[in-house]
Symmetry: C2
Subunit: 81 residues, 2 copies
């Protein structure tokens, strides 16, 4: 069994209203030192398979098709045995 970690983030040029809202909330709690916040997804998958390279390719396919909206999001995949 392999464990895949997928980080899905908005592309830099895409506005992040959720990040803005979190930043404003942090400012209202007094954390003025926070200048920018971006919120993304952290997805962990347990995937059957021993060939980590093969699992990584498959998970990239899954991210491309479902886990990320590749029009506005980018993703990274890390697999551990």
């Amino acid at each position: 069994m392999a464990i895949a970690h997928v980080i899905v983030e908005l592309k830099p040029q895409v506005l992040d209203p959720q990040g803005e809202a979190v930043k404003n909330s942090l400012h209202s709690l007094g954390y003025e030192e926070v200048k920018k916040v971006r919120v993304g997804k952290y997805i962990t998958l347990e995937v059957e398979g021993n060939d980590l390279k093969e699992v990584e390719e498959k998970v990239k396919e899954m991210a491309d098709k479902l886990l990320a909206n590749v029009v506005v999001e980018k993703f990274t995949v890390r697999v551990e045995g």
Copy 2:
């Protein structure tokens, strides 16, 4: 300026309906090898400050107070200069 990366995940014993939904969708796309999916948040913050240790402590405070619901979620913080 420091960059903090906060990973917020549901605690292991907490049910993850979103993860279940993603798993079922992946199965419907033919990815039967996926046995379990957990969906969390990946939050990136730009924080003013040069003392990375101090920034890390502050971001942990922010996570405790706002970024995570510590009743059902756990978080990790990593800060880079």
